[in-house]
Symmetry: C2
Subunit: 333 residues, 2 copies
DNA sequence: CTGAAAGCGCTAACAC
DNA sequence: GTGTTAGCGCTTTCAG
């Protein structure tokens, strides 16, 4: 199939390619009559400029990437959705890369994209080393998890939000509150753990073994919860570091015949739609997922378009969403 | 930051750029000694060829796109995951585009990608018109849904699988079986509806109003199920056109106080992981999701690399996965 | 206001 | 075996 080039347009409009380029980009002065002729030729040939040639010349691709550790965790499609919308809105192309939180995959993607003149990158990662971050010569924004102090990021108040979650369980009357934690390399998992500890570590009943690692994975969390509740049947409140694991925890309790919320109150973190589909529905500290994704994209694009301005870090606030996995203990003595 | 070009390498190795290009691509003859020198220079400068220049020259980008109608339906991340893996494995770049099943978004994406010398495209769509498909001048493979007879596709045996699902409900002893259907523009939704009809349309009890549209959306399906079960309390079996809606149906029944599977058996279609997280877990006709995604990518890449061979359509088989949302009626009289 | 020409980084004839 | 050169499609000085 014939793909017209700028030369074809120039020939048809009887002008030079420079003039065509000028009307294409709205640069420089072009007599309105010639502009018309060019526009006419463009329409007639159904001409579209070749982006690749433009990118080669400019050295910039109008393309940004989002690295996510686990596309199967519904949190990330929701986030990706936001980034994509904002990206398109600004005329950029959006590339989604699933890294499995594997540094090798991250590096491979990074190299491949650099060779394509990628303009910027939004990263959700726990594994990227400081060294690699320094080497990336395009603007980077960390999302959801902090990678390094020096790097702009968009996150939520993980520690404070977690404190609120655990406090909420206490206020409900829970006497023994345990925690299913995320991977320790993930900054947000650590912050959520800290928030939990802030509230419980001075309690006389608190034990280290009330913390079980769930790696932000459904199956892992299911197993962790099973271990936890078997070993510690006295647990009556559970704070789970994310919703995906929260659902796993619910399934595990169910399998053990433990009634939620009657015998055990469960609260998680994230606020993904999945939490509304379980039985019981999952109480959670909800992030403004769409907002933080959109904001990260916005900041990145700002930083790309206006080289001077260093992006600032921003922190959003989570909000308690009460659903059916938690209940006041007095209600059912 | 300094990005070395092929010229820098040539200068350092004291050869011409052509020679560098030859060792880069393994083309033509290069004396092993000079090859060494060039390799050394490449390493020393940490040189990586600029893909954009290559793409401009070749007119091909080694990039393929996957269009999905709804990134928030977990079926699509699972599919995307497969396409991505296969794509990377073949050294292609993968771009995921969320279209909301909106023809305008599809067209916008298509135009943008064409300008970037996109090599091929995998499409899950119900809205693309035949006219547009003909206009796409790169290889296209339809996935999950058929768009046009003339177009290669990778799908599953929707009609036969649906028949099996409904027959399974009958075998369980269900007397009144209803259907929550997908959008009528989607070919697979139609086939699933046909499969349902194949089994029930001759039944004396069958009524048109046993079919409610759920549009492949969670909320929509919830409402549809509520309407259906309120109007027809005699329903004791429900075949839902996909798992996402199946979960909605379970929630709706729950809200109405209808016990699953005691009073109502529910079976859906797709086999996404989400179906394992609900209570009760969801019986389903499982697609080999990863396989069909990977296969579609494989076929597309074959077609791209070997211009002659027209891709064939392929149909995979779904498989009954019995979980807790269905039960033999005699078990609990 | 418009055109000629150089060049973004790379590859592929075509010479030698 | 290796170098020279044209050119992929576009933008942008620089002249005029």
């Amino acid at each position: 199939m014939f793909m017209p080039t700028i030369k074809d347009v120039a020939r048809l409009a009887e002008v030079s390619t420079a003039t065509v380029s000028r009307v294409l980009n709205g640069n420089g002065y072009v007599h309105s009559e010639t502009k018309e002729r060019v526009a006419e030729a463009i329409k007639q040939l159904n001409y579209r400029p070749n982006d690749v040639a433009r990118i080669l010349f400019k050295g910039r691709s109008k393309m940004i990437a989002l690295f996510v550790p686990d596309i199967m965790n519904p949190y990330f499609p929701e986030l990706a959705r936001a980034v994509e919308d904002m990206t398109n809105q600004h005329g950029f192309t959006f590339v989604l890369c699933n890294t499995d939180d594997d540094l090798n995959k991250e590096i491979t993607y990074l190299e491949a994209l650099k060779q394509k003149s990628l303009d910027g990158i939004i990263v959700v990662s726990s594994t990227m080393t400081e060294e690699y971050i320094q080497n990336i010569d395009v603007p980077v924004i960390a999302l959801d998890r902090i990678l390094h102090r020096s790097m702009a990021s968009v996150t939520v108040n993980n520690r404070e939000g977690s404190r609120q979650a655990v406090q909420y369980l206490k206020d409900l009357g829970c006497q023994r509150i345990a925690h299913i934690s995320g991977p320790e390399q993930a900054s947000n998992a650590n912050q959520r753990l800290e928030g939990y500890l802030d509230v419980v570590k001075e309690e006389s009943w608190f034990k280290k073994s009330y913390i079980e690692p769930g790696e932000y994975h459904f199956e892992e969390a299911k197993k962790a919860t099973e271990r936890l509740l078997t070993r510690h049947p006295e647990i009556d409140g559970l704070f789970v570091a994310n919703d995906l694991m929260g659902v796993g925890a619910i399934k595990a309790a169910e399998a053990l015949g433990i009634k939620i919320p009657d015998q055990l109150s469960v609260i998680a973190f994230d606020g993904i739609t999945l939490g509304e589909t379980t039985t019981p529905t999952l109480t959670t500290m909800a992030q403004p997922i769409y907002k933080i994704g959109a904001r990260a994209a916005e900041l990145l694009i700002q930083q790309i378009e206006n080289q001077y301005h260093e992006a600032q870090s921003e922190e959003f606030t989570v909000e308690l969403v009460e659903r059916d996995s938690t209940r006041r203990k007095e209600d059912h003595p």
